[in-house]
Symmetry: C2
């Protein structure tokens, strides 16, 4: 893994806000060349533009030169679309001319074959050496829509709608589809980029850039592979501070890799599982379709974070209320019941209002009297648990619907305006912004819109969870080389003990007398097992005896274990016998760390036994974890209900468990990057007594 | 519950295909009256229309009368929209005039208060008595679009698009939204109805009617409450034979009722759980939004059932392939890998084709040469596992996109036409059919369309599963009065034994000698427990002894049990002691029946112990169940993986278990409708040895 220093791209400004541009490879005949020139005009670029071609002739009305150097004036950025064999020399020429930002459209690099990959490496080395921010190769370019600068072949949907959505897509075709859907729904865009091969500038870099791009309020990403995830992690922590949302549609959920199948934990961890965990932890919103991506981006662009997670849904249609209630449950939306004072005040507005229900059916009474909206919505918005109001009413699809829709909007728009929290209007079905809808939006001063209850509900759920996540602290990863290398149960438990993790008071003894004496000091029954780094399956070698009590019994067990093991495993190194108190009852938990080659150290937790082994029921997070992370992990388990106690077993003290798991995570990090896995299995939770009963490490190399 | 005979509506034809119509309550001033008259014209009704009002004056150009009787000519159907107080008399008048189909628009009945409900009951009684098919009250009416007849106030979206989707909605507002979305997407409609209060004609009735309505090929339902579910069940079995799909958007998923919380099973069963189970069993497609409802209906209308479940996705965009792969996994789509001969033939068409992947990235090579589609698609369609081809390419949003989109369609449309299985075109994002799209569709001879990968994937999953379900046999419910009333473990197990359910060879003994002798005949260790109808918690009374072997031990245990129980429960009726072989190992299953007040007898299965008790992990179906149903139930459990064996336990022989569960279901049905619950807990499955270890019945009254 390259270090952050090696791959940091220092200046994306020359690339994304150039004041002068050169098109390298321009000819009147090329569809690409014409496209790029057309886009410069479409997006309103008004700085000097030069073209470079072999003949040095003017093209598209721009002055022509035989090389960038020949221009003789400073140029910020170049779009290179010469044949693949000529790209390297073109880049040298651009660098020599002082160009600091380069987009390469040409394909035929790492995406094709090994030869292409080698050429791509040469180009990247050159760009690094000359301090060039290189986008691509195989990139359809970018449009800094807000700033009127573009080096792209992707045409805008016209008329261009300006807004705060920054779009990053690895695929150019998908970038175009995202823009298409955003335009159909009337959502405005600040920036679009197709990152192509991401040889140098990655999605993570552009996310980081857009956090400082003032017109961008929300960052919408389509990704096939997250390159440089550590950069994305850093950027996500910055984005949280800047209160800009990152929304990612990442494909590849269906492919799990076994790349990190180390020890036991690895098998629980897929690439996608880690990405999912990272999103949850870092406050990144993850979506599963372009429609959801755009709808969520459009909402957050207009509304920003909400101050309370609760969503109030108000509709004149009982059907909508029913459907939204189901969707809210399906997508986990917090729909608080109205406070008594809210209900009391609403009764003053709506005579036959008798329920405290949310979704709130304001009924067809608003058909005759839309001022009911105006009076009711500020009351709903003042409810102490409501952070956003969602209004649903008749929406226009044709001219004939307009009068009715405007009549209602005349009631609810002032109601939203007078509310202390933001309000959004959702249509029942997903509608395109056609002429009738556009007229409605203009007449009513551009309400914040969501289209369709289902995508609307998903977007609102994301908004609510994202807003809540802004308060959470997420600590970045700082890893140091480790010191000791504990190995084997005894070493590992003793190391954990030294790091403040409660471990079972086991003791290594080497004589029958010591065994008896330690058992006596513990009181009650003890378990005894052989201590040997060479014996993994202790029971099979007669190395385990349970439920022992009394000096004589314990001493005899010591002798029996030693005899059995030396007989069955004559070559094994024997350290002695471990004497520990018998534990019965309680809930067995599993805690294990692993190391992802991309994301670094991660931690998994689960219920022990069948849950982890047969059902793979576990939760994963990046290390370090906070206490809140750990509680969230356990609560997300399918078997979470068992933590509440079952058939007389005590409920697990999750708070106490979380403290311990945080410490286990810290203990794993302190062992340094050579630790492949640290596993505690089981971690026994009996009420608030938490104890590691067994521990295991695996080391790389 | 009313019987089927009481509520059967014999003639919906007079209502839905009237040749003459009367509007009762017509005035030029009323917005309703104008609406209804306008709709008659919109839908092209060409039979005689009369109006009735107090003055008997002509309205909307139709001849006016003071009553229906005064018309003096036969009239098939009436739309009544007089004030609520006048509805009863208006219905009497209509009945006297021989009207056989009536829609009541007027509201103020059961949906309002008890008085309204009483009036509604009077109206229903009258309609029944006079043989009138009554729609409503509180109904916005129907449009038999295909046959050009309509009694409705809901305006059509124009121009009307004719097709095979029949729409049934309890809510009028939602009916209008369904029509709106279908129209936006260009899907054609055969029939729409808003059923309102469903006082007489229910959604189930109209579903049944539309199975025989020839132009309707798919029935799309929005429902808040399924009235008369037994009718829906019957209709669903008929629909399966007619190969017409029923698709239902039912709200209320989030509200679970405890109405049938009898014994243990009841708590596992919610209203919605039963509805979900019924859908799965009856081949009804359940959806969760209007968009999904319409998209699925639109697809099935055009394609009909497919002959193989497998879906092949072919796209020129790698991004689309990735997104569709994830969506396919999320929504459970069968995406078969191509057969070797398919791969071989595709290599002949596409030079650099090296994978057998589905989704199949046909690559941007089709940009230059769309004939690749033409050659590749018939090969894909001939794959032995593929039942439908899904094509994804650039789709037009504006005029500028048309040339490119048509260029591609010129390749793939002939490819689809030459394929042995149907093909459908899916756009990457959900697009409205605007002018550009409409032009594209017309140019390319109306391809079968899906809009947006996400709703597309959902619709395709429904199509595939529904098509497969058509082969399944579903037996209707025939219930008879039961004979015996087994009660208590011994009775119940003996009853089950008589019905062919394998039960543990337990024997009731009344002496120590008999106990010893039965234990000897069983061989191995035995378990003994007190047999008493008065003692539920046997262990607490010293009524259970386990792992006994040898005459003396068994005899002593008999005496000990009798002594302990008579001492601790002196008033309990003692039948003796049950001696049964000890069972260890195997997997404990739970099987229980319950009775839903609406749907009738149901059966639930689960894994025993914690799974059913703490995690409520169970599956439910209507009785009777088929073997395939039972296997499907067990496989749907969250803990299903445990049935494959765990830590050395034998895998459960699901086939053998299913045979037993079918018999348990039959045994429960044979006990008649007074049986509230029959529970077998546990049913022990040890490899292929299946045995009921304990049984319990609960009776109503």
């Amino acid at each position: 893994m390259a270090t952050a220093e090696q791959t940091r791209v220092t200046d994306l400004n020359a690339l994304f806000t150039p004041t002068s541009i050169v098109m390298v490879g321009a000819t009147e005949k090329s569809v690409w060349s014409n496209g790029i020139a057309g886009r410069l005009a479409d997006y309103g670029f008004d700085g000097p533009v030069y073209v470079v071609n072999r003949a040095g002739v003017d093209v598209h009305g721009f002055p022509g030169f035989t090389s960038c150097k020949a221009i003789g004036k400073p140029v910020d950025a170049a779009y290179i679309f010469v044949p693949v064999a000529a790209v390297y020399d073109a880049l040298v020429d651009a660098a020599d001319a002082g160009v600091r930002g380069v987009v390469i459209l040409t394909s035929g690099f790492a995406e094709v074959d090994a030869e292409g990959a080698a050429l791509q490496e040469r180009i990247v080395a050159l760009a690094r050496e000359r301090g060039i921010a290189l986008l691509g190769p195989n990139s359809l370019g970018f449009a800094n829509v807000a700033d009127g600068r573009a080096l792209t072949v992707i045409p805008p949907r016209t008329p261009i709608i300006h807004g705060g959505i920054g779009i990053i897509s690895q695929s150019g075709a998908t970038a175009a589809e995202i823009v298409k859907f955003a335009h159909q729904q009337g959502f405005g865009v600040s920036f679009t980029v197709a990152t192509g091969n991401e040889a140098l500038v990655t999605t993570s870099d552009v996310v980081d850039y857009l956090i400082d791009h003032e017109p961008t309020r929300v960052i919408a990403v389509y990704s096939e592979t997250i390159n440089q995830p550590y950069k994305l992690r850093r950027a996500a922590i910055r984005a949280r501070k800047a209160r800009k949302a990152i929304i990612i549609l990442k494909v590849g959920k269906s492919e799990l890799t076994a790349a990190i199948a180390q020890a036991h934990t690895g098998a629980l961890v897929g690439d996608d599982g880690i990405f999912d965990a990272a999103c949850r932890q870092l406050g990144i919103i993850r979506v599963s379709s372009i429609e959801e991506l755009v709808m969520t981006a459009g909402l957050i662009d207009r509304v920003g974070p909400i101050s309370r997670p609760g969503i109030a849904f108000v509709s004149m249609s009982g059907g909508s209320c029913g459907m939204f209630a189901d969707l809210a449950e399906q997508y986990g939306l917090p729909m608080p019941q109205f406070a008594p004072e809210t209900v009391e005040q609403l009764k003053g507005v709506i005579s036959d209002f008798g329920t405290t229900l949310n979704p709130f059916d304001i009924t067809g009474a608003v058909m005759r009297d839309p001022s009911i909206w105006t009076r009711a919505l500020p009351i709903v918005g003042a409810d102490p648990n409501v952070g956003i109001i969602v209004v649903n009413a008749n929406s226009p699809q044709s001219q004939r619907d307009l009068a009715g829709a405007n009549h209602q909007a005349g009631g609810f728009m002032p109601g939203i305006a007078a509310s202390p929290v933001p309000g959004v209007y959702v249509t029942q079905v997903l509608q395109a912004v056609n002429d009738s809808m556009a007229s409605f939006l203009e007449t009513n001063n551009q309400p914040v819109m969501l289209y369709g209850l289902e995508y609307g509900a998903r977007a609102l759920g994301h908004l609510s969870r994202w807003s809540s996540s802004l308060d959470r602290e997420t600590v970045g990863l700082v890893e140091k080389a480790g010191g000791s290398r504990p190995q084997g149960e005894r070493d590992v438990l003793s190391y954990l003990d030294s790091r403040g993790v409660p471990v079972i008071p086991a003791k290594l003894v080497t004589s029958a007398q010591d065994a008896a004496s330690h058992a006596r000091s513990l009181g009650g029954k003890v378990a005894m097992k052989i201590a040997s780094p060479d014996i993994a399956h202790k029971t099979e070698f007669g190395g385990v005896k349970l439920s022992l009590e009394g000096d004589g019994t314990v001493a005899a067990a010591f002798e029996a274990i030693m005899q059995s093991v030396t007989q069955k495993a004559p070559d094994a190194k024997i350290e002695g016998v471990i004497v520990a108190p018998m534990r019965s009852g309680g809930t067995e938990l599993f805690v294990g760390t692993a190391r992802d080659p991309q994301w670094g150290p991660v931690i998994a937790v689960g219920l022990g036994g069948v849950w982890v082994e047969a059902l793979k029921d576990s939760a994963i997070r990046l290390l370090p974890v906070s206490k809140a992370d750990v509680i969230d992990m356990f609560q997300s388990l399918r078997g979470a209900r068992l933590l509440e106690g079952y058939r007389g077993s005590m409920p697990v003290d999750l708070d106490a468990v979380a403290d311990v798991v945080v410490k286990i995570g810290e203990a794993a990090l302190a062992l340094g990057p050579d630790l492949a896995s640290l596993e505690i299995n089981p971690l026994l939770a009996d009420g608030s007594r938490i104890e590691a009963l067994d521990g295991l490490t695996v080391w790389s190399n």
